[in-house]
Symmetry: C2
Subunit: 257 residues, 2 copies
């Protein structure tokens, strides 16, 4: 069975894509085969990792509205990236129409869960990058994931977003929230009061929180412009080292060089 | 007629809510009556401007699914805030269900446009804070707006978001994109190469761009935590002064003290 992680938060711009790409980057650098699935119609992970002008292939949309012929598989939709071991199922703007077309049809919340049943093409990990909206794609990701990683920007408005995210998880009957959910403080700037305040307030939430935090690091933006996960470009940068520590917490059995 | 501005971008976390609250803050400080409509189920503007524990009132959801009795009006849904002249139509998580319930029904794209026809309760300006997703709420906001203000974070991934936002505007037959759309560079950090690169690349887009930019300023986050628009709390801060300049461009007839 592949290990499936959903990277989700209803608040926009908190570092979901940066977290998904960075964790996938470390796993592939450490020799694992990783599948990154871009569930955001915005396609940030796809823009980050696809060479410009890459030909349009399928997206998970095909799993929901299969065309005639043999049903598509997730492994069949995967494309290699410039990093060995890291494959991507790209996003497509058409994903934005899924809620209108099939949001009300029964069973639509388990499409991804079924596609991930069994071994998906020998990937040790599947990482789901989620859009910042409560719709069919997020519901699918939360139903399919073994763990939910919730990046939370260390500032006031983002804490309100965490309240709603936890309420959504409870609504989805993820009773084992304690065991399955990990809050990851991101965009932490130790010089600002707002960041430090926020870290203190996170203590009060009834959910597991990673003891570290991802610092603000402009190298992440530069990595996106260069089309490489940060661990492949600047593995000793502040944010890359923080993501390595996060991975060590998520996968204690991994041997870290 | 009230002037209607939509603050929209499909990319998350680029400063839409910060821009909406700051422009509304300046207008109300300059003596105008302003209505801020929170169209984001996430409710960032509502969290920012409502006192904790404010009782739940209606949201624009009631315009789409009116309960029995007299149909609700936008002015009737408005609530005063701590700032004189600035009223808010709050958001509600139930807004996230609109696409599933009535996305496919004809005419659903013009509900807000109809609610804004004529004078809305003597407000000189109505500002629409949009969610980062292409759905019925964004479609309504773009159909109802006189101008569309597109905050764009000055970094690589956000430029891809701008491509999609402009494609969406064209899809909505807003032929007068040149006249009605204004790109506002946000989160500009003059010390980083990514920010400066981005500003140069924005020159190549076929859309009007504001000549200034909103600098990174942690006062904005602190203002959110204090529940005040930045112009009411620190009108001489870097970001507040930049938003004042933006307002002078949008409303040249306004007398700036
Ligand atoms: N640790 C960090 N240091 C500096 N910049 C960061 C960091 N993490 C993320 N960013 C930047 O913040 C912005 C938002 O990050 P990202 O796109 O990963 O968030 P997101 O939650 O996936 O957004 P969306 O809601 O649009 O999916 C990007 O410009 C990214 O480069
Ligand atoms: N000029 C700025 N300087 C510093 N921080 C800023 C600035 N503008 C926005 N921010 C911060 O960036 C984060 C995202 O801003 P904001 O919530 O306004 O974006 P948004 O586009 O409305 O996000 P969403 O997609 O979730 O609606 C917030 O934490 C906000 O405080
Ligand atoms: Mg993202
Ligand atoms: Mg917002």
């Amino acid at each position: 069975m592949s290990t499936v992680w959903a990277i989700a938060n209803l608040k926009g711009g908190v570092g979901k894509t940066s977290t998904a790409v960075s964790l996938a980057g470390w796993l592939s650098r450490l020799g694992r085969r990783v599948l990154l699935v871009d569930l955001d119609p915005q396609g940030s992970a796809t823009s980050w990792l696809s060479p410009p002008g890459a030909e349009d292939v399928g997206s998970v949309f095909d799993l929901f509205q299969p065309a005639a012929g043999a049903p598509p598989t997730l492994a069949g939709l995967a494309r290699p990236t410039a990093c060995g071991g890291l494959h991507l199922v790209p996003a497509d703007p058409v994903l934005a129409t899924l809620d209108r077309h099939c949001g009300a049809r029964p069973g639509m919340g388990l499409v991804l869960h079924q596609a991930l049943a069994g071994r998906v093409g020998r990937y040790s990990h599947v990482i789901l990058d989620c859009p910042p909206v409560l719709g069919i794609l997020l519901v699918n990701a939360l139903a399919a994931a073994d763990r939910v990683i919730v990046p939370v920007q260390t500032e006031f408005l983002a804490l309100r977003g965490l309240d709603r995210m936890l309420a959504t998880l409870r609504m989805m009957h993820r009773h084992r929230i304690e065991a399955e959910t990990l809050v990851v403080p991101t965009l932490f700037d130790r010089r600002t009061r707002a960041s430090r305040h926020c870290l203190e307030r996170l203590q009060g939430y009834a959910v597991r929180r990673w003891a570290g935090q991802i610092p603000v690091d402009t190298r992440l933006r530069e990595a996106a412009e260069l089309g490489r996960p940060l661990p492949w470009w600047r593995p000793a940068s502040r944010a890359a080292l923080a993501y390595r520590q996060l991975l060590a917490e998520l996968e204690p059995a991994l041997v870290m060089p």
